[in-house]
Symmetry: C3
Subunit: 293 residues, 3 copies
């Protein structure tokens, strides 16, 4: 009896959670963390001094890249989301405060670890909702387009990471030897797996309600990202299972695909590929960002 009640309560909770509005609290956290990552990028502070327009455009790509990409994928106007003036103004205010606040006060507040951990957790709530909404939107446009659902959910979750080469180009940086598909970071991988799960759910191949899936996936993403941020770690929880699957299916050398995420041998460091932005250790980034001030 109590068991059933617990299930009912969990269902209600999941239902309520999946209906909760994201604007403005969660979206604000999303904008802050995203633009924080932009500030960590080497050279971005200098760009913000030299060309505020380029810096603002990059910030908008960081905040709304997922909407832009999803709109492109579904053949809509890429600037469609820019009709929501309040969202753009909020993100612009965050951009201004993070880059130009006197004494760098705002940056210091939000980059303070306990504050940042809360913001990171809130950001993952938004990411999960975006994946679910992307899959649902694609399902609406293509009823049996399972590949399209996965693609749209994937770009909604990954956002600017997937076009980081072109976002960097806007800041005058060009690193063609790597990209987010070739070297997926944890959030990009998780977005892909999440998009597959939500597509399976939308196709009724997964015996679970969407609200429950949202709740479970959010909890998984938030805890994982918080732990990774707290530990300055960039190992992925998927690496062991991925390493074996890739070995069996694609003949990848065992642990080869992921080796640079775990204890890279000291000598290999100089030749290792350029780390993607979300893979850089937090400490290194902060030092760089501080020096650039």
């Amino acid at each position: 009896m109590e068991n059933v009640l617990a299930v009912l309560n969990l269902g209600d909770l999941a239902q309520a959670f999946s209906k909760m509005g994201m604007f403005p609290v969660f979206d604000l956290a999303y904008y802050i963390v995203s633009i924080l990552y932009l500030k960590y990028e080497p050279g971005s502070v200098e760009v913000s001094r030299r060309s505020p327009v380029a810096s603002w455009l990059c910030a908008m790509l960081y905040c709304f890249g997922s909407y832009i990409l999803a709109d492109i994928m579904l053949g809509s106007s890429p600037v469609d989301y820019f009709q929501y003036n309040s969202h753009i103004l909020l993100a612009s205010a965050v951009w201004y405060l993070i880059f130009y606040c006197p004494l760098n006060l705002f940056y210091k507040c939000v980059a303070f670890l306990p504050v940042k951990l809360v913001l990171v957790a809130l950001k993952e709530v938004v990411r999960t909702r975006k994946i679910a909404a992307g899959v649902h939107h694609a399902h609406h446009a293509y009823h049996h387009g399972y590949f399209i659902m996965v693609i749209v959910g994937y770009v909604k979750g990954s956002g600017v990471a997937l076009i980081s080469n072109f976002e960097q180009l806007l800041r005058g940086v060009w690193r063609p030897e790597t990209n987010e598909v070739l070297n997926m970071s944890f959030p990009t991988k998780a977005s892909l797996y999440g998009a597959i799960l939500f597509t399976l759910q939308e196709a009724h191949w997964l015996p679970v309600s969407k609200s429950t899936l949202i709740l479970v996936f959010t909890l998984f993403m938030a805890t994982t990202k918080v732990v990774m941020t707290a530990r300055h770690s960039h190992g992925s929880p998927f690496s062991l299972i991925e390493s074996w699957t890739c070995h069996l299916l694609f003949g990848s050398p065992l642990g080869g695909g992921e080796e640079d995420n775990h204890h890279p041998p000291a000598g290999a460091a100089p030749s290792s590929p350029v780390k993607t932005k979300e893979e850089l250790s937090e400490g290194a980034r902060k030092r760089k960002a501080k020096k650039a001030e």
Copy 2:
């Protein structure tokens, strides 16, 4: 009494000016000046010999880049404007005459300074109309999408400059260290300010009629560009006010953002960033274009 009449007359004049058709005279001037700038680009003459298709495509991007970009921004077909066969044929004829005319006769005529100054003035008439049309078009699609109006007006005014990295790539040139957003030339900046003004007008926040704004902005653009072309100058009339605004708002060093436009110190020249195409001194370009013949 006479004052009122003068105002009425000015209003009528502005009205008539804003209704004036652009095809074929003004558009022709636009195509000639645009493809002239393409010929000034180092390597473009060689490309026209080796691959006429690539050269023609670049010429089309120079002439119709603003339509292509605006169509992309609003989610239409990027080649939508190519349905106007007469415009494409006219631009193609200009391309052929500028690149392949025997004895380089056509090029010499239109690059002759007095002729060129007239053409440059006519081109600015078209640019202003494009910005106004872009803002109006975006307003039609998104009634309160003020950011979208500015963006569409901006790309309509700037045209190929905003995608110059990819236009260069088509000719086998790749200069990732700079782009038109990072180092805005005068026409790109003016297009941005113009797009903001026309958006304010469209939103009724500017107490002026659209035809008057078109007339005033056209006069400003045409005189400025004619003076700049005549003087082989590339200083911007905005630089003083921009320098102070950027200093106050974005903490840019005073005169720093613009310093390479004014008397760069002799020693700094070799390390200065690559100049954007419309910033190169006219003399240097002509010499290059002549050598390439």
Copy 3:
């Protein structure tokens, strides 16, 4: 009398040929040959081991690049074709077999010259149909948009070749000094000429039925490509007439535009531009692909 009958029969044959379904046999051949060319690309086997997702995306670009580009050109969703799950699954199966089949068995079978020649011929059947369909589709959207018809037919015929720079970027390779428009390979050129022919036919300026044109163009493409593949040749049958036309119309040096396709002087080889993928000698590619195993 018999003459008329022969003509009638040819007309019927052409009619039947132009109605023939492409799925699955012809499409399968298209996928196999396309992904074979991907495997010939230096580094692609290594990418398939390191990042199966990037490798799969490249394979999809090779198979469906023409649909993606045509959809972009006409303002539709670029992933519109991904709604056909059976096509995507078939292409994915081919990708898996070519890259990961034990003992490389599938690759060895389809790369065996007699088999490959048949597949290459079948691929050209699909290419011609795609050009015709592209022109027809564009004609439907823009009744008098002759330039749009040529552009859409061209991208439908050329497919991934036109975006090879960006396809390479996905694999971490960046070669900005060349592209498929600057150095057109035989299939790209033939697609352009085919698109022009089909546009003339659609505009009723060519006194021939569409089914006859499809039959004749298919025969021309299939025989030419089969002969070229059998001979490991990459000279184009158009080169003589092109060389003269370009000389007369565009002042290109005689034989200059094409010289690197015919007997390049031994000393010039190291400085010659990077060959495009379909221009590399088959032998060289196979050696590279084998070494990469």
